[in-house]
Subunit: 514 residues, 2 copies
Amino acid sequence: MDKSRQPHQRVSLAGMHIDRTSAVPLHLQIAAHIRSGILRGAFPAGTQFLGSREIARELGCSRTVVLTAWDLLYAEGYLESTPRGSVMVASVAAPHAEPPSITPAAAPAHMSKRWQSLLGLEYETNWPSVFAPGAPDISTFPFKEWSRLLRQSWQNPREQECLDLPPEGHPRLRSEIANFLGSVRGLVCAPEEVVVTSGTSGALDFCSRMILDPGDEVWVEEPGFIEARWALTAAGAKLVPIPVDDKGLVVSEGIRRAPRAKLVVVTPSHQYPLGVSMHLERRLELLDWANRNDVWVIEDDYNSEFRHQDSMIASLRSLDREGRVIYFGTFSKIMMPNLRLGYLVANRRFIDGFSKGRARIDVHTSGIGQLALAEFMREGQLLRHLRGMRRLYAERRKALIDAITTLMPDDLSVSSAVTGLHLVALFTEAMQARMSDREAAASLKQAGIHVQQLSQNFLEAPTRQGLVFGYGRLHVEDAAPLLARIADCIGSRRRNAPTGPAISSRTVRTIKRG
Amino acid sequence: MDKSRQPHQRVSLAGMHIDRTSAVPLHLQIAAHIRSGILRGAFPAGTQFLGSREIARELGCSRTVVLTAWDLLYAEGYLESTPRGSVMVASVAAPHAEPPSITPAAAPAHMSKRWQSLLGLEYETNWPSVFAPGAPDISTFPFKEWSRLLRQSWQNPREQECLDLPPEGHPRLRSEIANFLGSVRGLVCAPEEVVVTSGTSGALDFCSRMILDPGDEVWVEEPGFIEARWALTAAGAKLVPIPVDDKGLVVSEGIRRAPRAKLVVVTPSHQYPLGVSMHLERRLELLDWANRNDVWVIEDDYNSEFRHQDSMIASLRSLDREGRVIYFGTFSKIMMPNLRLGYLVANRRFIDGFSKGRARIDVHTSGIGQLALAEFMREGQLLRHLRGMRRLYAERRKALIDAITTLMPDDLSVSSAVTGLHLVALFTEAMQARMSDREAAASLKQAGIHVQQLSQNFLEAPTRQGLVFGYGRLHVEDAAPLLARIADCIGSRRRNAPTGPAISSRTVRTIKRG
């Protein structure tokens, strides 16, 4: 449009592009065109447009459409009427003299310090690798039953079921979780002691904010679970790494390093990532110290349901008689990760404060799946699926351990601790002399195999070197071929030409994907 | 059990209660019984038990069960072997000399200051009242279609669909939201500028933590949306109330009161709760100031989809050319509240930082409903439902306004601003002279009718008095009877005996519920 036009010369819209195939109604397109022109300065204040009939004829639309566009722009303040009743661009709508000096590339950059800290923690996780620790196998999930129950729970719900759920979660799901924990985990709790969460990360986020003020200290296991650190960091906590030995968390070190900590986050059943079980004396030591110092303890009992019942170890919460232990569990592995459903078990006083606060932050965990999951559990589908997964994972674990001990006995040493979906292969001294686990992981990545280096799980200087192998998605027949590839890449018994078992095409695809 | 027993006398378990109907396996029951006894001091260190065969006979179970219980307790450290190979209570398992001095009633009480602040904000919201502001009508929702699509999306999903979703949300849902906003809201955006959230509260929580460090100032509208204050408070922000007049937020007051604020949260299309639309000059003033001072603006465009398109006002984001406005929307009203699904629209740089951080806190919004919702939108079901709801809500609003203007013309004055699911009835001067809106709400509550007092929405001393009426769930035929009851209770034209229209039985149930 020509800026040199006399302000009183009536403006035509003949050149405007109308998209009749667009979902955007015509009057909105017209209004957008004019609005944009006004803001760009193409239609200065005082500009008058042709009459609505003429514009309608120009654009090939009805007069009503044009008048509706006018009405909208009037209401927004872009247009006003002349004394004669014509339509004119309003004076207030004139843009500033200077064109915007900020280019999109230099768009607003302010970000809080705490968010910068959160983003600053660089780890590589969640790559689509067959060895991704903790990644479950989805292929045998009973989708037919699950989808049936989803439909069933939403076909004809009661009205109350559609409005906000209680922040603690659907009562039936709380009840099923309590039953499940009793029978599968030997953890006795009442439904009122169970809260439905959106997964461990989110639950840890809320608990951190409930228990800690910024700067407060928290004990974290060293090595320990990376993702837990994110939530704690986002809450502004000061993480104090506490070493883990063959009896689990070294409580005396915790007391020495951070005697004023307000929270302890542990994985006592099977320490992540090393797999050791926290010995009874350490558990009692921890609970005793926590009681005397008003400290909360979060027990992240990840993957407990995959361990065979005969080797099940009583939870820390079972030992706790002061209501000090907050027990975390998740459905991410036993159902599927994108469900984002989990639970915590705590005493009622904690749950009251937790729920009231969380309700004010995110209202409640998604309601679509809660009732369906309760039904899924009530029908016994979850237990049935769990039994199948236990067998499958046990087979895969065995295949992986066999492959490691057969193909890389001089380099890697596997603990016998059962963890559910991953294991740690520690570097032997000979291996450590040759390379760090970071170098090993880098070499493997170049060869197309992603394996997590153990040292990534340390906050401070790593005291151990090794590789963390997830096996949830590892097919039994691929274990040896993959380990052969790994041995070729970093093993002491490197071979120039592959003489090991032929690699299945699925393995090749796996390697390509991973 | 008798503590005076010789430590070497072998202990029987004959008195132990076995629950054969329990889901808890026998060996776990036995182990729990012994564990508990050890911790209570009933089985001191060195206590030996009868042989496994004898115990099996006593309890009426197999010897294997008893041996499995022993194995477990060995693994946990409660038992050890005697030199002769018998089972003995381990010395480390002895409990402390002093019995626990903390009773469950005095359970751990530590709670962070920030959580105390969050809980300290006392408001009454979310009561099950027909007048609850913002509560939508669920009765006409197409559950048949929705449940069909839920089932369809989970019958046979691709594996990738089950693992973690991207933190920005399912690509198809992002795409559908972009289309929806373009056609329904006249807001043009690319799918890459859309992020799926778990609802407005949660999105505000993340944005606050991303933009503000504790103590940073944020402008909030006065009166304004209570729930927004919770999330901002949880993030440690310093809320500065900025008045709203008939042109919307008084930007100059904001600049005067909090010139160093980092964030502004506004409801510019239809201010909550007053309903006024933010005038263009104010919008430009706000954006201009925000640009010059590197300030973010959150535009909460709640309920915009319920307003008729012909009166649709261009979003603040449409005016924003610096990528400074973060646009919030929700599906809570147009679908159902317990879905916990919403979205935000922002520039890509913001989205990168937001998504990377949120992924580290809660991974992503629940994945169960995202694909189903995308399909629901693609099939046109959402638009169809929306059209029906617009008509329904328009009828209800009209009925409510008619009732108010007919029955309480001297007390309440209703603005014509269309808000979607609620309206504000301001007190006339005469009404204000008689009572405060807090007193009015208290009287009504005693009469069994819950209506929110406008003054509750002020952070500081209220400058206006009135009542906030939700009408989303108000049946047209109940408007007059309910207003008659309200008039009876607090109106200037009080009547001793009800002479108004008969109250339907549904209204009576409604009043009882509310």
